[in-house]
């Protein structure tokens, strides 16, 4: 779509979304009034920056149905976020929203190469989590066979994968690695598995993990992005070029802001992703602060799409650790770790403050490849890992080697950081 046409469409939809939110959601009306702003003040796309931000805390305050912009009878489905850090956030869907969700998810699966000929094993959790149903609707829209297996029961997952000839898998990247590990343990050759692609998301991962998944299963591993507050999965998806995640900006308007000054950042600069829904009916969202760290790039992709691309999520502004005053993103530690040959991508970061100073312990699993019968060599390995992390992240950490398969594997989101500091 030509830029001008896209912007015209976005503006038209934005104005409608703002008006709907203002007219029907007391929360937005209050925010606008406080900012001495009316819906008619949004005349250009740039005017979006005048709209106050919406945060997760705001949404929690509206629990359960305070953010709904339509009468309850029009709501056909509800989902919530996990609610691990407080009251969950509720998102509602009208029939139109489900239609939209199916459409954007169909685009995602299509980018991964799925067609009606494919069998999609959907290992995202069904239930209140949006992952399961989102993929489900997309798969139905393209006419693929969906296996609604949900998360867990790994041996059965593998059995079904073999017996049903699954060609596309959808799950978290850490679960994909776990599946590969169990397949190996069970003596199942991944050559017998017909998988060709996977849409992986719902947690942060790195290029190294992508390489591992692609190698172990011999598939194309692509990034899928979404969040409950906006719609669930289906906000953005990576094309096979693997040069960024295309945001479906005809439905979701993206900005990147500085998490400190809250000012919009120029293209290419890393900051916090802010999203506005342009076509949602039940729970429209204006300038939602996602807390996800990324950068936007507007270039015509080799795949031909003109949709803006966001970088792989680089961290969370609320996961960002401040260690001895230095900003540290856990993903950077992961990246450094994975650059060391023979180290498995299983680790945990533990932050403590024994006295006045913060200390970071990185627990790394010992692997057969790097184990030695000599203490000296293991000590050397430890020091090498420590030095490498210090060089690439800029902070000193203490590495502890633990026995293989003792760090938690997760079937949902992997818990990589444990902050034991009392701040």
């Amino acid at each position: 779509m030509p830029v001008r046409e896209r912007e015209r469409l976005q503006l038209e939809r934005l104005r409608r979304a703002v008006k709907t939110a203002y007219d029907n959601v007391p929360f937005f009306r209050k925010k606008f009034t406080e900012a001495k702003l009316g819906p008619e003040d949004i005349r250009t796309l740039k005017d979006i920056t005048r709209i106050p931000f919406t945060t997760k805390a705001d949404l929690r305050e509206g629990y359960p149905f305070g953010m709904f912009a339509v009468p309850r009878r029009e709501i056909v489905e509800v989902h919530t976020s996990s609610g691990t850090t407080g009251k969950p956030v509720v998102t509602g869907y009208t029939r139109g929203d489900i239609d939209l969700w199916s459409e954007v998810m169909a685009r995602c699966l299509t980018m991964a190469g799925a067609t009606e000929e494919d069998t999609i094993q959907n290992c995202y959790g069904y239930g209140m989590f949006t992952g399961g149903m989102g993929v489900h609707y997309g798969a139905q829209r393209i006419g693929a066979t969906v296996v609604p297996i949900s998360a867990g029961n790994t041996k059965r997952q593998l059995e079904i994968m073999l017996d049903f000839g699954t060609t596309v898998i959808t799950c978290t990247p850490s679960y994909a690695l776990y599946l590969a590990e169990v397949a190996e343990e069970e003596g199942i050759s991944t050559k017998k598995i017909k998988l060709k692609a996977g849409c992986f998301g719902a947690e942060m991962w790195s290029e190294r993990i992508r390489e591992q998944i692609e190698k172990r299963f011999n598939i194309l591993a692509l990034n899928i992005y979404g969040l409950t507050e906006i719609i669930g999965p289906g906000v953005a998806h990576e094309c096979p070029e693997k040069t960024g995640i295309h945001i479906f900006e005809d439905h979701f308007y993206a900005e990147v802001i500085s998490p400190e000054t809250l000012e919009p950042l120029p293209e290419g600069e890393q900051g916090e992703l802010v999203l506005t829904t342009l076509t949602r009916e039940a729970t429209p969202m204006l300038r939602f602060r996602t807390r996800d760290v990324t950068a936007l790039r507007r270039e015509v992709c080799k795949c031909g799409r003109t949709l803006v691309k966001m970088e792989r999520i680089k961290g969370r502004t609320d996961d960002m650790l401040k260690i001895r005053g230095v900003m540290v993103f856990p993903y950077k530690i992961e990246k450094a770790l994975l650059e060391i040959k023979g180290i498995e991508p299983h680790y945990q970061i533990i932050v403590t403050r024994p006295q006045q100073l913060d200390e970071i312990e990185v627990q790394v699993e010992m692997s057969r490849e790097v184990f030695s019968d000599e203490v000296r060599r293991i000590e050397e390995l430890k020091k090498n890992i420590e030095k490498h992390i210090e060089r690439s992240v800029g902070i000193r950490v203490r590495v502890t080697l633990v026995e293989p398969k003792t760090l938690p594997r997760s079937e949902g989101k992997a818990k990589r950081v444990i902050d034991k500091r009392e701040l």
Binding site: F371, S372, E374, V375, R376, T400, L401, E403
Partner: protein, 143 residues
């Protein structure tokens, strides 16, 4: 003349040593010699067993990280100066000893010393040339 030794990575956690040894007991593997190197965070359990491959398999199945490598075993007289003589030979031949451990044989009044060095072949030659008894794997297993 080299003997296979298996090494196991142990986190300093309660019960791990027992679990490793118990795995071997359940696999009906007798331990001929054993040593533990320990640091504040982890330990390395080193073992000489008659069926090292079987032991490795059993331990790996139970989730342990295991590694096999070669060591040499020598017999030294069980009296003052016995070990010193053997070490002098290696020292003179410029052979570094990474670590060693010893156990006393029940019948013949000899001590068996297990030596780990990077230059195993050279060490065997130097020791043999000087008349030290280098034991074969079979001899160790049949002690």
């Amino acid at each position: 003349m080299k003997v296979k030794q298996i090494s196991i990575f142990l986190e300093n956690k309660k019960g791990r040593l027992y679990e490793a040894i118990d795995t071997l007991a359940k696999a009906k593997i007798n331990i001929r010699a054993l040593s533990i190197a320990d640091t504040s965070e982890f330990g390395i359990l080193r073992l000489i067993v008659p069926e090292p491959d079987k032991a490795k398999e059993a331990l790996e199945k139970s989730g342990f990280t295991v590694r096999e490598n070669n060591v040499i075993a020598i017999g030294v007289s069980d009296q003052p100066g016995g070990l010193s003589e053997a070490l002098k030979i290696l020292n003179d031949a410029q052979i570094n000893v990474e670590y060693l451990y010893a156990f006393v044989e029940k019948t013949a009044r000899k001590a068996v010393v297990v030596i780990r060095t990077e230059k195993a072949d050279a060490a065997v030659k130097a020791l043999k040339d000087s008349g030290v008894t280098v034991l074969s794997a079979k001899e160790i297993y049949n002690l």
